[in-house]
């Protein structure tokens, strides 16, 4: 189509049109149907505040037609109506108000009990505006960070002046506006000033401007979020000037929501900016002088202004048509205004331009508490003259540049509200509804909001919050003690979910230097904390057998690795670990648990004494980040002179495990690896395939094993060399799955899988790793207290008969059908030929040899620690 595709009709578009302007020009008057009663709704504010022109544009729901630029080919449809907004079948609901009293949902559908489950799906069907396009997926949008000295929001006269003043005082300035300067202002003195100031701003290099950039929220920092096309701005200024202007207050009278009732600035915008004739015969309701200025714009667009309804005392000497003193009390008409009633007179018209009192646009202002913010122009005080507004902007710009105090929000100004009509356009809440609700007990604004849903629709109270307060205060002059205001919450302008996450890369994935290699040989990856590790290379059983029978290789580069040094290093580690450290001679290593103050196990790993009071530590894959700061905190607390250097990323690590591990490595190394020179639980500096390694003899998987730590850059070289040298024993790389099975056969726990946030060493039978006779260590006091009590549950190893199916991890332990515990680890042991595992079991059933039921099958609490090679001969080999 040449223009907008509006529900199948081709609507022509002119230069500068918004969707609303183009549709209005082509004769559309009903833009939506209201949420509850399906009343016809037309353009009202024409400035993005009210809900009346929400349409679906190219599949995006709830787009404000008055703010969205029109483009040829756009598909636009109206919402919440069937078959069309012009003839909406559900409009009959508007005749049934008596059946939908305030609080209806709370009062209906209660009895009989089965009624609600049947009614609810129907209510769900009627809810909501617009459909979600099921195929929409997030686009990748950019986030841009800005760091101006001063941010000015709003490019009206006050904002433009503020930007110039702040720049004049030497600040870098960013000036944003949700439209372009003057876009909503018809020609006249204000528009002339805006044009002149905009040109002046453009000539100042220290001012960056961004138009069509609505601010959506203001947060601590200060951080202001704004949306600019496909970019989301995160603006981090030193100070902010809020000059976001004001708007005419929503006036409430009988049928005040009829299409044809429009705020005067909106009507003037259609006429003066878009060249659209908003009506043929208009009445202008003027409560302040600016309203009279709009008459010229309306007349120029061909509107006949037949009367002005003017507030008492307003100077109307320049008005040429009839002037009626008083207020509008009703609009008349079916689908649009045909007349209005004022001061008892009925005047035929098809447009009522409501030039009511100007109220500040205080949405951002009310989020500005405790932030370095200055408020200027109509946003600060209402109904300023042009000169006052400019002066206020200049003063604000200067104060912002000088560094303002923190802003304190002042209480909202009291307002008045008519006796009849719709307070809330989003949710169809009338004055009567509010009064009934107040009589029922819901006195304060917050309770009224929640009960009637007033202020809870898409406009979020922009249109109606003041009237809500007015009705509550009028009905209840002695409303005491409870604050009569609703809280304002971000966002203040729409931001879509994809705009909110613009530029945020969210899932960080850590890889070792060998990931590409793993993938190339068929490794499947799984999460291990922030790391991706190899789950298996296709055949867990074969990987397992390689380790038990010959030799296997696993990438353990994800282990947390620390160098700890400095004059107090030994003393520091003595206090960090529950086991002894000071007696470790150079070349020795020791297994260590890490406990928190409550004596609960938080991590485990090894400590290697390097000599000269230097230590090399490993911790679990998921622990490194957390433990780095944890150790730093303790060092700080104890005033220890110690360095904790996190080498997790700079060092790679490989574990060569299996009966042939020594033979294999000896092919690649000239250093002595025999049992005497390099025994179990020792570490040595050795060279393997030309790579300098710190080698440790450990036994996690239960076989002769050498864990090699080396510069991460050497990872691929070393891996390839070991695989090549291992070919004669049919070496296999193995993944996490095989490792878990291998360690389970040894009865070793995995922190966080077999332990929880209450697990002390005693509960898992690891008291041997705690030396309570040490002076002090983290968790000691708690453990001493703890030892005075019996534990309710213990972690025990269990076995099952051959031929029993292995229960899944997470299965329950039961005794006579009652819950008695839970399984944390379970595998079928290939070597033993039956299922084995670890389980938390109630103390009464935890004794060695007890019969328990695991996942429904009989099992026995195992009497030893390791199921495989209990004497540990293999790992000492």
């Amino acid at each position: 189509m040449a223009g907008i595709d509006f529900e199948g009709t081709d609507v022509p578009v002119q230069q500068g049109d918004t969707i609303a302007a183009a549709l209005y020009r082509s004769g559309t008057r009903i833009f939506s149907r209201s949420f509850k009663y399906h009343r016809p709704r037309g353009l009202y504010c024409v400035s993005g505040d009210c809900p009346n022109c929400l349409v679906t544009v190219d599949g995006e729901v709830n787009v404000r037609a008055c703010e969205c630029a029109a483009r040829a080919g756009q598909k636009v449809t109206r919402q919440n109506a069937w078959p069309s907004a012009d003839r909406d079948a559900l409009a009959v609901i508007d005749k049934l108000h008596w059946a939908l009293p305030v609080g209806f949902y709370y009062k209906a559908g209660i009895k009989p009990k089965f009624a609600w489950p049947m009614v609810e799906p129907m209510i769900r069907k009627m809810a909501g505006l617009g459909f979600v396009d099921h195929h929409d997926a997030p686009r990748h949008l950019e986030r841009v960070n800005w760091h101006p000295d001063v941010l000015v929001v709003g490019a009206g006269v006050a904002g433009l002046e503020a930007a110039l003043a702040a720049a004049g005082a030497g600040s870098t300035v960013m000036l944003i506006d949700e439209t372009t300067p003057g876009a909503r202002v018809a020609s006249g003195p204000t528009r002339a000033a805006i044009d002149r100031l905009t040109a002046a701003v453009a000539a100042v290099p220290a001012i960056t401007t961004s138009w069509n950039t609505p601010a959506t929220g203001l947060f601590e920092g200060p951080l202001l979020i704004a949306v600019s096309g496909d970019e989301t701005f995160h603006i981090h200024p030193q100070a902010i000037v809020l000059a976001c202007g004001g708007r005419e207050i929503h006036r409430v009278f009988t049928d005040n929501d009829l299409p044809g009732v429009m705020l005067a600035r909106g009507a003037a915008r259609l006429a003066g900016v878009h060249g659209v004739r908003p009506g043929a015969r208009a009445v202008v309701w003027a409560e302040q002088p600016e309203a009279l200025e709009h008459i010229a714009a309306l007349t120029a667009a061909g509107v006949e202004v037949v009367a002005v309804v003017a507030a008492e005392g307003l100077d109307t000497s320049a008005v040429t048509c009839e002037v009626i003193r008083g207020e509008v009390t009703a609009a008349k008409g079916r689908k649009r205004v045909s007349a209005i009633v004022a001061a008892g007179r009925t005047i035929a018209c098809d447009l009522l331009a409501v030039g009511s009192e100007i109220q500040p646009n205080e949405h951002l202002v009310r989020l500005a508490y405790d932030l370095p913010v200055v408020v200027a122009g109509d946003a600060a005080g209402h109904g300023l003259t042009l000169d006052d507004a400019m002066a206020s902007g200049r003063a604000a710009g200067e104060r912002a540049a000088a560094g303002p105090e923190l802003y304190a929000v002042s209480p909202a100004t009291p307002r008045t509200c008519g006796a009849n009509g719709y307070v809330c356009l989003c949710e169809d809440v009338s004055v009567k509804d509010l009064e009934v609700a107040i009589d029922e007990g819901f006195e304060s604004a917050e309770l009224l909001k929640r009960y009637t849903t007033v202020t809870m629709g898409p406009c979020q109270g922009r249109v109606c919050a003041d009237q809500l307060r007015a009705v509550a205060a009028r009905k209840n002059p002695d409303l005491h003690r409870v604050a009569n205001a609703t809280t304002l919450r971000p966002p203040v302008r729409p931001i879509t979910l994809e705009q909110a996450i613009a530029g945020a890369p969210h899932h960080m994935e850590r890889h070792t230097a060998l990931t590409a290699k793993h993938l190339s040989i068929g490794g499947t990856m799984m999460w291990a904390g922030p790391w991706k590790r190899v789950e298996a290379y296709g055949d867990v059983q074969a990987e397992y057998r390689a380790v038990r029978e010959r030799v296997g290789l696993i990438d353990v580069g994800t282990l947390g690795k620390f160098l700890v040094a400095g004059p107090d290093a030994t003393e520091f580690l003595e206090r960090i670990y529950p086991m002894r450290v000071a007696d470790l001679e150079a070349g020795r290593l020791r297994y260590g648990l890490l406990l928190e103050e409550g004596g609960v196990i938080i991590d485990d790993g090894t400590v290697c004494a390097l000599g000269d009071g230097r230590y090399y530590l490993t911790v679990t894959t998921t622990g490194a980040e957390r433990l780095e700061s944890w150790m730093g905190d303790w060092a700080e607390a104890w005033g220890h002179d110690v360095y904790v250097v996190n080498q997790t990323a700079s060092l790679g690590a490989l574990n060569v495990a299996g009966p042939q591990a020594r033979a294999l490595l000896q092919k690649l190394s000239d250093d002595p690896l025999d049992r005497e020179s390099f025994p179990y639980i020792r570490h040595r500096q050795i060279t393997v395939a030309g790579v300098e390694c710190l080698a440790m003899r450990l036994g996690f998987v239960g076989e002769l094993a050498y864990e090699l730590h080396f510069p991460a850059s050497q990872s691929a070289k070393l891996w390839d060399a070991i695989i090549a040298a291992g070919a004669e024993w049919d070496i296999r790389p193995f993944g996490l799955m095989a490792q878990r099975l291998l360690r389970l056969e040894k009865g070793h726990i995995i922190i966080a899988q077999d332990t929880d946030f209450e697990t002390t060493p005693w509960k898992v039978g690891m008291q041997w790793a705690v030396k309570l006779d040490k002076d002090d260590f983290v968790g000691k006091a708690a453990l001493e207290r703890h030892l005075k009590r019996d534990d309710r549950e213990l972690l025990v190893p269990w076995t099952m008969g051959a031929g029993t199916a292995c229960p899944p991890e997470g299965a329950t332990v039961t005794m006579n059908g009652n819950l008695a515990g839970r399984v944390t680890s379970a595998w079928h042991s290939p070597t033993l030929g039956h299922p084995i595992g670890l389980a938390w079991v109630k103390r009464a059933y935890a004794a060695a040899g007890s019969s328990i039921t695991v996942g429904g099958s009989p099992a026995t609490v195992f009497s030893g620690h390791a199921f495989y090679d209990p004497e540990g001969e293999k790992l000492r080999a």
Binding site: H135, I501, E758
Partner: protein, 404 residues
């Protein structure tokens, strides 16, 4: 349909008396529920609920309204299951439609360890008679076609704990329902009255409260202030291990309902549901810092949205409508603290963290019993304050940290 087409009186203001049999601090669901059951089950109606703001201003009016009983420990399961039972008949009992919506609750598991934890919960739940089980990818896709089951995301969904009775209901209706029930039985509801002190006699026994409207005598004082517990306990000189953290949530603009399940992902720290009004309700876990400041943050939005879109990417172009923050009185084991405090006649209903809305009904019932009889009801005995000193915790973290 009594009272449907005419107005009804939910409650009215009452004269603040100098003395009550029972004073309840906090006009949230828990406080109102306690007042209601005191009147209903024990005929004790000389009761005042003192609320410093408007009723429901705290967690009750800010929560994401998930109720369920698929907890981890037998103590927890029994307790929350009783609440579900009471909730199921509450609309009829109080003649107010609480809009209980039995959508069904998914705890999604994206890692092997999460699958293990969810299996354990399912198995334990079933042993205790709770309808809950681990289901696989195909069943998930069948039950909730809107969910993104792609393997091509950072955390593909592997399994889910499915709890069909998991529901949402209107939070305000619960507190208003109890309030109107209590009011019509004679209970006084005082909004805008702040408790500023706990009064004790020479022996240390609690004899009343000081308030912004002057002192009030009371036979028994019940503190049901959730996120303000550390403040009220300070007044009473009671030490608890509670820390106060903010928890945030937001809703989108309403669109036609399309998601009919409650989705929770512990791995992604996010949960999503769609209300009867059509809004998507999205929340996360607590902020790591403690504060008594309710300002919302944008980093919460970024994290929760990014994760929510992994689950339901078709929400990408919906607009946010409003975000808000509440307080959570967190305990070390993610279970509540209820009953005796060491100060005679001063009882605590606290430690509600992110999980207390669903307990509203059972708390009302048990705290009423506590206040009326002075004896600790069996259901809440495991939640006694002294359990921390005795190291007899009721560990519910795995079941309560993200899935509130």
């Amino acid at each position: 349909m009594s009272g449907l087409f005419r107005g009804r009186t939910w409650w009215k203001r009452s004269e603040l008396k100098k003395s009550y049999d029972v004073v309840i601090i906090g006009g949230g669901g828990h406080g109102m529920g306690t007042a209601y059951y005191l009147a209903k089950n024990f005929g004790i109606t000389n009761v005042a609920v003192l609320e410093k703001n408007y009723i429901g201003a705290g967690g009750t009016g800010r929560n994401t309204t998930i109720i369920r009983s698929n907890y981890r420990t037998p103590e927890g399961i029994r307790f929350y299951e009783r609440s579900m039972e009471l909730f199921r008949g509450l609309s009829q009992e109080l003649d107010i439609n609480m809009m209980l919506s039995k959508l069904g609750h998914f705890t999604l598991a994206h890692t092997d360890s999460s699958v293990r934890v969810q299996r354990e919960r399912g198995e334990t739940n079933r042993l205790l008679g709770v309808d809950s089980k681990l289901i696989g990818r195909e069943e998930i896709a069948d039950l909730c076609p809107e969910l993104n089951m792609s393997m091509d995301v950072a955390y593909p969904i592997q399994a889910a704990l499915y709890h069909p009775p998991g529901s949402v209901l209107r939070h305000d209706a619960v507190v208003w329902g109890y309030a109107t029930g209590a009011y019509h039985k004679g209970v006084h509801i005082h909004q805008g009255v702040e408790v500023t002190g706990i009064r004790k006699d020479a022996s240390g026994k609690c004899i009343g409260v000081d308030t912004s409207e002057g002192p009030i005598d009371a036979g028994v004082v019940v503190s049901a202030v959730a996120g303000w517990t550390t403040q009220v306990c300070d007044m009473a000189g009671v030490r608890t291990p509670i820390t106060n953290h903010p928890l945030q949530a937001f809703v989108t603009e309403p669109v036609k309902p399309m998601l009919h399940k409650i989705l929770v992902s512990a791995n992604l720290h996010v949960y999503v549901s769609q209300t009867d009004r059509g809004e998507f309700l999205i929340g996360s876990e607590i902020e790591p810092y403690t504060t008594y400041n309710l300002r919302s943050t944008f980093s919460f939005v970024q994290h929760s949205v990014a994760n929510a879109l992994d689950l339901v990417p078709q929400l990408a172009r919906l607009k946010m409508m409003r975000q808000w923050t509440g307080y959570c009185d967190m305990t070390p084991d993610y279970s509540p603290i209820m009953g005796e405090t060491g100060v005679e006649n001063f009882y605590l209903d606290a430690g509600w963290g992110t999980w207390g809305f669903k307990a509203t009904a059972v708390c009302g019932e048990t705290m009423a019993q506590m206040a009326a009889t002075g004896k600790t009801p069996e259901l809440i005995a495991p939640f006694r304050l002294s359990r921390f000193a005795d190291e007899q915790m009721v560990p519910e973290k795995a079941a309560a940290s993200v899935s509130h």
